[in-house]
Symmetry: C2
Subunit: 204 residues, 2 copies
DNA sequence: ATTAATAAGTGCAACCGTTTAACTTTTTGC
DNA sequence: GCAAAAAGTTAAACGGTTGCACTTATTAAT
């Protein structure tokens, strides 16, 4: 999903053109994907729809899947903040559960039909799901370090890393019949109790 | 890895030839991969080394990565058995931890140098790691059902599914400095305590 | 035994995502 | 102004994968 409202620096003629090309590519890609399905749209189609060559496309995006997703620098910051600035008396996995449940993309609530279709596209396209998962999982190390710092454990503490890993994984728990919220709750059932009971006692 | 010792049914001339071709392909692939590295060996190289055409290769294996891995029907059975036939008084996550630690492929212990090189190949090749992960994770549903059945929970119980998912994931916890065993232990630290403390009390 | 149906294997050309290399344009620093 | 660096563009290729038309070998039915 592309969000063009995040510009601030006074960018020169060149960078403006670059951004425009990038945007044209992302727009064309999303439109075509929604129209014909991810697998039925080729890189060459997208490039032509944006009136550039395929080589130019790959200068802007590292691969076909990346055409659909935006930067995620802010995502990691928010994730860490959820741990660091959690309300008084709330446990770390508790704060993480709240964050995951709050930021999970639900299909029905936001009135934006366009966004709903975007979510469906990702969920129904294995390639895109996999790509999103890899992107999301890259935050594991940062999250693990934040958790460890928060409780004064060594940066590589295995339990902290496991909590980080499992927390991030909750977003991709497969759910056939039960709805997503229930499955996530079930997962944190394990994690919260496990964290509280784990050796080391004085965990926040 | 290929293991030719699992034949039992009296197979006809045709299926014998088929198996031979398949074996030739797998052997050639592994040999070439170890020799030159996964990325430096093309499908066409492997096909030629096995003296078949690329079309034939894809009749036997669904993709390049599959040339390296064997069937995994037995793996799932063993996994389920670890839960079902666990010793008296041992908890389910306890049995799973024991199974995971026992069957994890350690580089140094088995005296087979060939096998060691095979493991290194997989671990150093992102494509192969990903493929192995996907194969392994396919057992999630079966494991979740076995766990649920074992404690008399509904087949789709979210906590059981979460335990299954997280258990399988332990094999792919990234570890930069700490060794694998320590990280797995840290993960089960969470899971075992969480499972014991989770609502439902009478869990075995 | 002949024959029809099935399945393995072949060769080739194509498709698709991605990369390379050569070339042109724009920007930047002197 | 001007040369060097950076970014943009293009056509061609590469590597995994698939489709198609065809040959050959095995099995099963008549």
């Amino acid at each position: 999903m592309t969000d063009a409202t995040t510009e601030r620096a006074p960018l020169g003629r060149r960078e403006r053109k670059k951004a425009a090309t990038r945007q044209a590519l992302a727009d064309a890609a999303l439109r075509l994907f929604l129209e014909h399905g991810y697998d039925h749209v080729g890189i060459r189609d997208i490039a032509e729809a944006a009136d550039v060559s395929t080589t130019t496309l790959f200068k802007h995006f590292p691969g076909k899947e990346a055409l659909v997703f935006d930067e995620d620098a802010e995502l990691e910051a928010a994730l860490i903040a959820a741990v660091r600035e959690r309300p008084e008396g709330r446990s770390i996995p508790g704060a993480l559960r709240e964050y995951v449940l709050r930021t999970r993309r639900a299909k029905g609530d936001d009135a934006d039909a366009r966004f709903t279709r975007f979510i469906e596209l990702v969920e129904n396209t294995p390639d895109l799901r996999e790509y999103e998962r890899r992107m999301w999982m890259r935050h594991e190390t940062a999250l693990a370090r934040a958790i460890a710092e928060e409780i004064g454990a060594p940066a590589e503490d295995p339990t902290c890393r496991a909590l980080a890993h499992f927390t991030l994984e909750t977003r991709f728990l497969t759910c056939e019949k039960a709805d997503v919220g229930t499955v996530i709750a079930g997962a944190f059932e394990l994690l919260e109790h496990g964290w509280n009971a784990a050796a080391g006692g004085a965990r926040g």
